[in-house]
């Protein structure tokens, strides 16, 4: 019953966040700020994780296909498809749920317990829309770029590890990257990213907005936002994979 009430409250919250903005210029400025806070500031962690994951995927693929019947270019192909289909969308989204999700929940939660949201309410601002909509728009715009960056650096990490350890030659790896490439896979990955971006920003915004109590409760809301966002990402990953690839 409590779960149903929370789901209902979440959809009401979403409805309010998409209400017409009071002043487009103010919302535009907020969105630009959020693009930097939530998007640009996440580029570093995405690059680092992608390079190392790409390297690890390549070495694991090489280890598991260490048999004369498998052509060596399969290592490049395996690295490419693992990164495009699953890693750069789902794994990066899980990591961003931790970084961006907790940031959003704790920022809005702190505003709630220090009465900043009450101050906005009294001014007559639609607080849900003002605080949440720019974050949703910023993540929807920027996360697909993060996915593309992750794909690029993941494959680059795989290439570096392949060359430096000698598990496959440069030529074979690049041939594998190009072999039987399906451009739709990129589209599939970007569609998933957009859905995950929406989940991360809206779920964490919801958790932060309805915080009551003190700083301990902000911490709890932040943790809840990461957990719920991760569960929903995994659930929607399954649903979208069935819908888009079957």
């Amino acid at each position: 019953m409590k779960l149903l009430a929370s789901i209902g409250r979440y959809f009401i919250f979403l409805g309010k966040s998409f209400k017409k903005p009071e002043k487009h210029r103010v919302y535009y400025r907020q969105t630009m700020k959020e693009l930097i806070n939530l998007g640009v500031n996440s580029i570093g962690i995405v690059i680092v994780i992608s390079v190392f994951m790409g390297a690890a995927i390549t070495l694991q693929t090489a280890y598991n296909t260490d048999n004369p019947i498998y052509p060596r270019y399969l290592i490049g192909l395996g690295c490419r498809d693992s990164i495009i289909l699953e890693f750069s969308s789902t794994m990066v989204a899980l990591i961003l749920a931790g970084k961006v999700g907790s940031h959003i929940a704790s920022e809005i939660g702190s505003m709630r317990i220090t009465e900043q949201i009450d101050a906005l309410d009294i001014m007559g601002v639609n607080t849900i829309s003002y605080l949440i909509l720019p974050k949703i728009v910023a993540t929807l715009i920027f996360f697909p770029f993060l996915t593309l960056i992750s794909i690029t650096f993941g494959i680059f990490g795989g290439y570096l590890s392949a060359i430096s350890t000698g598990v496959v030659s440069s030529g074979d790896f690049i041939y594998g990257l190009q072999y039987a490439f399906v451009p739709y896979n990129i589209t599939y990955s970007l569609i998933k990213t957009v859905v995950f971006a929406f989940i991360i920003s809206s779920v964490s915004g919801f958790q932060g907005y309805y915080v009551s109590g003190g700083s301990l409760d902000v911490g709890k809301a932040s943790t809840r936002s990461v957990v719920y966002a991760c569960i929903l990402i995994l659930l929607f990953n399954l649903v979208l994979t069935q819908l888009l690839l079957s």
Binding site: K23, E115, A119, M123, G124
Partner: protein, 248 residues
């Protein structure tokens, strides 16, 4: 003028406001006093619409506020300035951006006009050369003054202050009180201040309402309060040894 008629509010079985009726007079500094937990913050939050009354009426001049929907409340809310106990300045904005926020959101003033108005309001509360500082870089007294500047930037008709002196030293507290009083007189606002500070009562309490356990027990002026025969009020006023000695 703000009128509260038969206001009632409970959280579960806990009655917080019980049939409170008050007229807060226009152009005056109206004080609501009472012990912590007496219901004065709930009353203030109900008047500004942050909490909904279970029953009763709230009138801003000739408009009944409590029955209006969010959209209709907007026109009255733009007339409201509020000073919160913890100032509630926006952490991510500078002092100038904090004060300018309402102008950005609700007016079509040019950048120059907005800057001029912000500087006037900051000057008015004696904040100088702090436009680019963040709230975290300000002292408690400065934060309160910036919050007052933000509250008055859009020429409000009503000013609400929740415990404006909390966390301040006595000298700064008196400065803040006097600032609230001066601004009320200057802008001819209806001001309501929640406090349990007797210094504030004596300094600025043109009208004083005493609430205990959610019930209005007494109302009058700061000149009448020391002569009151309300037992509960006298216990509140003369709670400390110092005030008891002064009385005798």
């Amino acid at each position: 003028m703000i009128r509260i008629i038969n206001s009632y509010k409970a959280f579960g079985n806990n009655k917080v406001l019980d049939n409170v009726s008050v007229n807060f007079e226009a152009g005056k500094t109206n004080l609501v006093i009472g012990r912590s937990g007496s219901g004065k913050t709930v009353l203030l939050k109900s008047i500004v619409g942050l909490l909904e009354l279970d029953s009763g009426e709230i009138w801003y001049d000739n408009t009944r506020f409590d029955t209006l929907d969010f959209k209709s409340r907007k026109s009255i809310r733009r007339e409201i300035g509020m000073l919160f106990q913890g100032s509630a300045l926006f952490d991510s904005m500078t002092v100038e951006e904090n004060v300018m926020f309402k102008l950005d959101m609700f007016t079509n003033m040019s950048r120059g006009e907005k800057k001029k108005r912000v500087n006037y309001c900051l000057d008015r509360v004696n904040i100088i050369d702090a436009n680019n500082l963040l709230p975290s870089e300000l002292s408690g007294g400065m934060r309160k003054r910036v919050a007052i500047a933000r509250a008055i930037v859009l020429y409000p008709g009503y000013l609400f202050c929740d415990e404006p002196n909390s966390g301040l030293d006595p000298e700064t507290a008196i400065l803040i009180d006097k600032l609230i009083k001066d601004i009320t007189d200057e802008f001819k606002m209806t001001t309501i201040v929640n406090t349990h500070d007797m210094n504030s009562v004596m300094e600025i309490g043109e009208k004083v309402v005493y609430i205990a356990e959610g019930i209005k027990q007494w109302e009058g002026t700061n000149r009448e309060i020391l002569k009151s025969d309300c037992k509960s009020l006298n216990e509140f006023i003369f709670a400390s040894e110092l005030t008891r000695q002064l009385k005798h």
